[in-house]
């Protein structure tokens, strides 16, 4: 309903405004039109007046008594003759000025002001008539601010002699009054202050019985008017600039006026002020208002009717439409709900599917991962198991090695102790034997000396016999002979003991176990000596030593290797055989080979002999460690050990050691 009402209101407003606008336009045109009419009328009135005044002047100019009076210069007479004429003109035609001017351009007589004369006339109309010798007319702004329509004619005598000039003038009032009467328009005549002098103007106004008010307007003064009503603003009194057709409306004392100003032109065609037209439009306005009210009322009623009709018809339609729309909305909503439910369901399905897919993938991946993990775990476990086994084997070997080395170290220490304990007695025994040898020499010498002395004494045979018998009985000579052997043999014995101790010590140098520069041959010798107990009844040891440098190694450990090989060789002998030890040097390495004539080793066994705990001996006889330890030791020396054998053909073990002649860091 609101839009409808608004529409109606807007329509009414537009209608009213259009009415107002049309009226304004009409009024504008009307005032312009009126101005045209007034202008034309004004010009016609002016022409009519001018014609009239010119005709009057020409008539007056032909009066010979006037000629005479003028020629005689008789002002009194002229006045007397012309006065009634002027009075008639004044009352009948509104002529207010009557001049007689001389040819010297001075005013000879003013009928309307006879006491003033002799002043020079400079008015345009006069100057024009003087120059053209023809009648001249036009409005002139006088020095007193009077706007006067003047007509001047040259005055000739009957003998065609120029007597002077005749001039008639009438104030604007008359013209305006006529104009007002004919057109029903009020007028205001304004003149620029620039063309006036205040004092003169005020005096002129008072003379015309008007009240002058110089300060009423800023730039102009009011010199004539047909009404007492004034526009409220000064700007209403000025013509609008350019072609602006605008006019102003105002009300004064319950009357409404339309006002428009035009430029006021004088005889010189100068715009000397404003010609303001004021049309009383009170009646028209009232009529218009009434008309508008009626029209408005009518429109309102019509609108109301329409409104009502629309309200009823449209309301019904609207209600139906609303109902239908609501129904539709409901349907749409339902459809939307359904749709969104469907969408949700679809999305859920999709998600579920994706979940399932990703779950599947995850599962697969997880299964793969698990499998891989299990596999790696398995292989890890397998590796760990193998490592453990290896570690266990190593441990076993290490333990045995340690035990063995411990044993060897103990032997070494024992040997060292034993060496000391044996060396002490051997020391003094050897030295005592040395002393004894010396003593024996001395004693032998002494016995010889004694025998010599006895010979020299030449005792009887009986004493000699007794001595000889005693010597023989006591085996002195044999003893003396034998004593030296005894001493030498004893010394030999002590030397051998010394050698055994020394070899034992050398062999058991495991306690020192220092990396040192060693003569391999010395090692081999001491080992053979130590092992001689085992070897003696099994084999002959034959040495083929080459030329070897001293090399850096762990001698105690190498001795152990040598002994193991020697003992094994001895044990391999079925009966009695031969063990050959050969050494040589070749391309930076030292080689030691043990060749026996024993039973040999089968190929199967050859592959395992360096394994720890592998033994072919009866349980409890061998540890199965000898060769594995030997292998380890040689490895530790950065060397190699290998076996060549054939069952029944004997065995050879070869050791290669790097010939390190310098201590390497």
């Amino acid at each position: 309903m609101v839009p409808l009402s608004l529409t109606f209101l807007i329509l009414i407003a537009i209608f009213l405004y259009t009415g107002y606008y049309i009226r304004e336009q009409g009024m504008h045109h009307a005032i312009n039109h009126r101005y045209q009419g007034v202008s034309t009328l004004f010009q016609e009135l002016e022409k009519q007046r001018i014609d009239l005044m010119t005709a009057v002047l020409q008539y007056a100019g032909q009066q010979e008594d006037l000629h005479k009076a003028m020629l005689q210069g008789d002002r009194e007479r002229l006045l007397r003759i012309a006065q009634p004429f002027f009075s008639q003109l004044k009352t009948q035609h509104g002529v207010t000025h009557f001049y007689f001017h001389g040819i010297d351009s001075r005013t000879f007589l003013r009928l309307h002001q006879p006491e003033r004369f002799g002043d020079v006339v400079e008015r345009k109309t006069f100057v024009t008539a003087q120059q053209t010798k023809n009648p001249s007319a036009g409005f002139e702004l006088g020095p007193l601010g009077t706007y006067t329509l003047r007509a001047v004619v040259p005055w000739y005598s009957t003998s065609n002699q120029l007597l002077g000039y005749l001039e008639l003038g009438q104030e604007l009032d008359q013209v305006l009054a006529n104009l007002k009467r004919v057109t029903g328009t009020e007028f205001l005549i304004m003149v620029d202050k620039a063309y006036l002098q205040r004092d003169a103007w005020e005096e002129g106004m008072r003379m015309l019985k008007r009240e002058p008010d110089w300060g009423q307007f800023t730039s102009q003064v009011l010199i004539n008017r047909t009404t007492n009503s004034f526009p409220p603003s000064e700007r209403y009194l000025f013509p609008s600039k350019g072609n602006d057709p605008h006019h102003y409306n105002f009300s004064d004392n319950g009357k409404y006026f339309q006002v428009k100003a035009f430029p006021l032109l004088d005889a010189k065609q100068r715009a000397i002020g404003n010609f303001v037209m004021m049309v009383d439009i009170t009646e028209e306005r009232n009529r218009f208002i009434m008309f508008m009210l009626r029209i408005g009322l009518f429109t309102l009623v019509l609108c109301g009717a329409l409104f009502g009709f629309a309200y009823r018809t449209l309301g019904r339609m609207d209600r139906t439409l609303v109902q239908v729309r609501q129904d539709l909305v409901g349907e749409v909503e339902k459809a939307e709900q359904l749709n969104s439910r469907l969408m949700i369901e679809v999305a859920e399905r999709k998600r579920a599917e994706e979940d399932l897919k990703s779950l599947n993938q995850t599962l697969e991946r997880r299964i793969l991962d698990r499998t891989r993990k299990l596999e790696s775990l398995n292989s890890e476990l397998e590796g760990q198991r193998r490592e453990l086994e290896r570690a266990y084997e190593d441990l076993k070997v290490n333990q045995s090695t340690i035990l063995h080395q411990d044993k060897m170290a103990s032997i070494g220490q024992l040997a060292a102790g034993v060496a000391h304990d044996i060396n002490n007695p051997i020391g003094f025994v050897t030295n005592n034997l040395g002393e004894l040898e010396q003593y024996l020499k001395d004693i032998s010498q002494f016995i010889g000396f004694q025998a010599e002395m006895i010979e020299k004494l030449r005792p009887d045979d009986k004493v000699l016999e007794l001595v000889a018998a005693k010597r023989k009985e006591l085996h002195i000579d044999e003893a003396v002979d034998d004593l030296d052997d005894i001493i030498q043999e004893s010394l030999e014995g002590t030397r051998r003991v010394q050698g055994i101790v020394q070899n034992l010590r050398k062999f058991s140098r495991i306690d020192e176990d220092e990396y040192e520069l060693v003569d391999i041959h010395e090692c081999l010798d001491s080992t053979v000596t130590i092992s001689s107990n085992e070897l003696r009844y099994k084999a002959d040891v034959i040495r083929h030593y080459g030329n070897l440098p001293k090399i850096y190694c762990y001698p105690g450990q190498l001795n152990q290797v040598f002994m193991n090989l020697l003992i094994n060789a001895a044990h391999a002998m079925d009966d009695y055989g031969q063990i050959e030890i050969a050494t040589w040097q070749q391309s930076g390495s030292v080689f030691i080979r043990f060749v026996d004539t024993g039973s040999g080793i089968s190929e199967e066994v050859q592959g395992r002999i360096f394994e720890p705990f592998f033994t072919t001996k009866d349980v409890g006889t061998g540890t199965g460690l000898g060769l594995s330890i030997a292998y380890d030791i040689i490895q530790k020396h950065a060397g190699d050990i290998w076996v060549d054998s054939e069952p029944g053909q004997g065995t050879s073990f070869t050791i290669r050691l790097p010939a390190r002649e310098r201590l390497e860091p």
Binding site: D421, N423, G427, F428, N431, T494
Partner: protein
């Protein structure tokens, strides 16, 4: 060799001491004998310094190296000779390095070797 020469023999084994006594029997030297390092120190303090000391290494109480080192501090002119059947050369070599032991002779000793060492020691003292 004359009677001014004084030699001290130290060994816990009496047989060694008597053997050494026999060794020097024909030399005109004054021989002092002690069966331990402590006894030897006592002897040296009582009877004054000697030119040469022959000492065993392994003895109850103070060992030969320690003994000779102490002696070297008190009587630097005395030449100490270590006689030992025990081959702990590490301890011995350090003592040789600091001059407290003049020579090391291994047991059983060679008579000529020992005599040479003693002659050398005497010629230096």
């Amino acid at each position: 060799m004359n009677n001014d020469i004084r030699i001290l023999c130290v060994d816990d084994e009496p047989n060694i001491l008597s053997t050494l006594q026999r060794f020097f029997r024909r030399d005109n030297v004054q021989l002092l004998l002690a069966d331990s390092a402590e006894e030897a120190m006592k002897l040296l303090q009582e009877k004054g310094p000697v030119q040469i000391i022959l000492s065993d290494y392994r003895m109850p109480g103070m060992n030969g190296v320690e003994f000779l080192q102490q002696v070297h501090l008190l009587w630097p002119q005395t030449k100490g000779i270590l006689l030992s059947g025990f081959a702990d050369l590490g301890a011995v070599s350090s003592a040789i390095d600091d001059d407290s032991i003049f020579r090391y002779v291994r047991k059983p000793w060679d008579r000529n070797e020992l005599r040479g060492v003693i002659d050398e020691a005497l010629s230096l003292s």
